[in-house]
């Protein structure tokens, strides 16, 4: 069964199209990813699916309810972890969860029981009575994850769940997401601009750029599209004409000082390539990654470093509510 189905979902901001006729279906129980660089329209899509933004045109069904005509029913079906911190740092972890339970009309006994469960799931039981101000970025993210699924939503939205976190916290969050997908039997839709994250977590993913989907499949199927090994060469004035004549070179792409080649059997053919291509500064040979897939479809790479600053920075700038 489909838990989400979008129909030409579109959002324009003063004539600028942030999300452009998005059509996708998410199956019940899967972890579905939206992978794309900053500004691709991921957050805008999530905002529309969670009823916080009205689409300019098109619509979507979440848990079989229409996001435009039945926003209340949609809001009852979903949990959201927003891109920026959304917990109150003058409250404790426990108080943030209690507030959430009240907002979602959970009966008191169920609420308290659920708070215990989700705190345990994200290993914050010991820190529940500390102010969120005292939490690290990773802990705060885990708290918000716990909060998002506390009221038993059918669908959980995670907008850049590990943005701005250190590598260790990121792996921890991944483990929690995988565990809860298994334990809580919910559908998860997450956005990210980290290849490794999409690769690790998602059953299927859509590559999104400039508000449009350029490819949609499982990570392994997407990588198969590349159809060979990837050879990345740093070289000035590459001899492209000669390279293209080699029959084992399937595809050539030039991008800022680099040439990316798709090559059958790279280990045997590397020497020929290096002789032919010109004065090589460096070379890297690997199996296809989602980065290569992204390059294949959009002609550019996803920048891993977040130009947006985002999470960590926003936490720092938001101190207390005092002026």
């Amino acid at each position: 069964m489909q838990i989400i189905k979008t129909e030409n979902l579109t959002k324009k901001f003063n004539g600028f199209t942030a999300v452009d006729n998005l059509n996708l279906e998410v199956q019940e129980g899967e972890i579905f990813g939206l992978l794309g660089p900053n500004g691709a329209g991921k957050t805008t899509s999530i905002m529309m699916l969670t009823t916080l933004l009205k689409p300019s045109s098109g619509t979507a069904k979440v848990n079989n309810f229409d996001i435009v005509n039945q926003p209340d029913a949609v809001r009852k079906s979903i949990g959201v972890v927003f891109q920026d911190p959304s917990s109150d740092d003058t409250l404790t972890g426990y108080e943030n969860l209690k507030l959430h339970g009240l907002l979602y009309g959970m009966p008191a006994d169920l609420r308290e029981q659920r708070i215990k469960e989700v705190l345990k799931l994200v290993d914050l039981t010991d820190r529940r009575n500390d102010l969120v101000k005292k939490y690290s970025g990773g802990m705060r993210r885990r708290l918000e994850l716990a909060r998002g699924l506390m009221h038993h939503p059918k669908v959980l939205f995670l907008d850049e769940p590990t943005l701005g976190l250190d590598p260790q916290s990121r792996t921890t969050i991944w483990a929690y997401v995988q565990e809860l997908a298994k334990k809580e039997k919910i559908s998860i839709i997450l956005t990210t601009h980290y290849m490794d994250e999409a690769d690790q977590l998602c059953n299927r993913l859509a590559i999104i750029d400039h508000g449009k989907i350029s490819a949609l499949d499982s990570p392994s199927n997407l990588k198969k599209v590349i159809g060979g090994d990837v050879v990345l060469v740093k070289v000035e004035n590459p001899n492209l004409d000669e390279i293209k004549k080699l029959d084992f070179v399937k595809k050539t792409q030039v991008h800022d000082g680099y040439v990316t080649l798709t090559v059958a059997n790279a280990s045997e053919n590397l020497a020929r390539i290096l002789q032919t291509i010109g004065k090589v500064e460096s070379v890297d040979v690997h199996l296809p990654t989602l980065n290569d897939v992204f390059l294949h479809y959009t002609g550019k790479e996803i920048r891993e470093g977040s130009a947006e600053g985002g999470w960590g920075e926003r936490v720092m700038s938001f101190r207390s509510r005092k002026n």
Binding site: K76, V80, P85, D88, E95, H100, Y104, G105, F318, N323
Partner: protein, 263 residues
């Protein structure tokens, strides 16, 4: 999902929003302390400075401005409370509340009650101080009783609901706390000075008199003065009509502003 009626959900939702505001208020102790100390300084420094030379209709000047100072606390505390929603928007906390399955009207009511609670706690503390100051003769002529105290609290509650709504209307439309600060200060000082909090309303030049009549705070100050000191310009009836009408209009505008609020 849960077996609760929508009405009950909304009421619990209002409580949820209030619960958060109240917790935060209790945690910012320095704010409570300064919100009580500042008006007392006004009362004694400003009141004593001018009071040595002024005596209004047989009343000690400090006693005369006491109800005005209460109104001042309500005015500033309630309107500035609106800035917190700007902070909530700066991070994504506002989204967490807006994506919950409760109506924006309930969120608005919860916020108003949160702001009103803050202001009422400050007023109760100041009324107790006023009672003590009168009792020990520090402010001659100020005699607050349980009855007049509760009466004043009621009138000020209506006003704090109106003014918290004003603050929230401003806050729901603003992007930066600095902008909010600027606009509200620009608004608040004239409202305060024109309300008759610091001077009697009879014998004013015509232009000033007309301006004071347009100031909604004038009627709150007048009502509080009537209840606490037994002297007033317009009479409690007219004061209450204006106060309650102002409140209803602001609540209506506030729910509208929340309905239209962008993220």
């Amino acid at each position: 999902m849960y077996q609760m009626s929508q009405t009950k959900n909304e009421i619990v939702g209002i409580y949820a929003v209030w619960y958060r505001e109240f917790k935060v208020f209790l945690r910012e102790k320095s704010r409570i302390v300064s919100s009580v100390i500042n008006p007392i300084l006004w009362l004694f420094i400003f009141g004593a400075g001018l009071g040595s030379s002024i005596n209004i209709s047989g009343l000690n000047y400090q006693a005369f401005i006491f109800p005005g100072i209460l109104a001042q606390v309500v005015l500033f505390s309630s309107v500035f409370y609106g800035v917190y929603i700007v902070w909530d928007r700066k991070i994504d906390f506002l989204k967490e509340v807006l994506v919950a399955p409760i109506s924006r009207t309930s969120i608005f009511i919860g916020k108003v009650l949160g702001g009103a609670t803050d202001a009422m706690i400050q007023i109760i503390i100041l009324l107790i101080f006023g009672w003590i100051f009168g009792l020990v003769g520090l402010i001659p002529g100020l005699h607050i009783t349980l009855f007049t105290g509760i009466g004043a609290l009621f009138v000020l509650f209506f006003t704090t609901v109106s003014l918290t709504s004003v603050g929230l209307i401003l806050g729901s439309q603003m992007e930066s706390p600095e902008g909010f600060q600027l606009i509200s200060s620009f608004l608040l000082f004239p409202i305060f000075f024109l309300s008759g909090a610091l001077f009697p309303l009879n014998n004013l030049p015509v232009w000033l008199g007309s301006l004071t009549k347009l100031d909604p705070m004038t009627y709150t100050v007048d009502a509080a003065r009537h209840i606490i000191l037994g002297t007033s310009q317009y009479g409690l009836g007219l004061d209450l009509i204006v106060i309650i009408a102002f409140m209803l209009v602001m609540i209506w505008l506030g729910t509208y502003a929340f309905e239209k609020m962008k993220l």
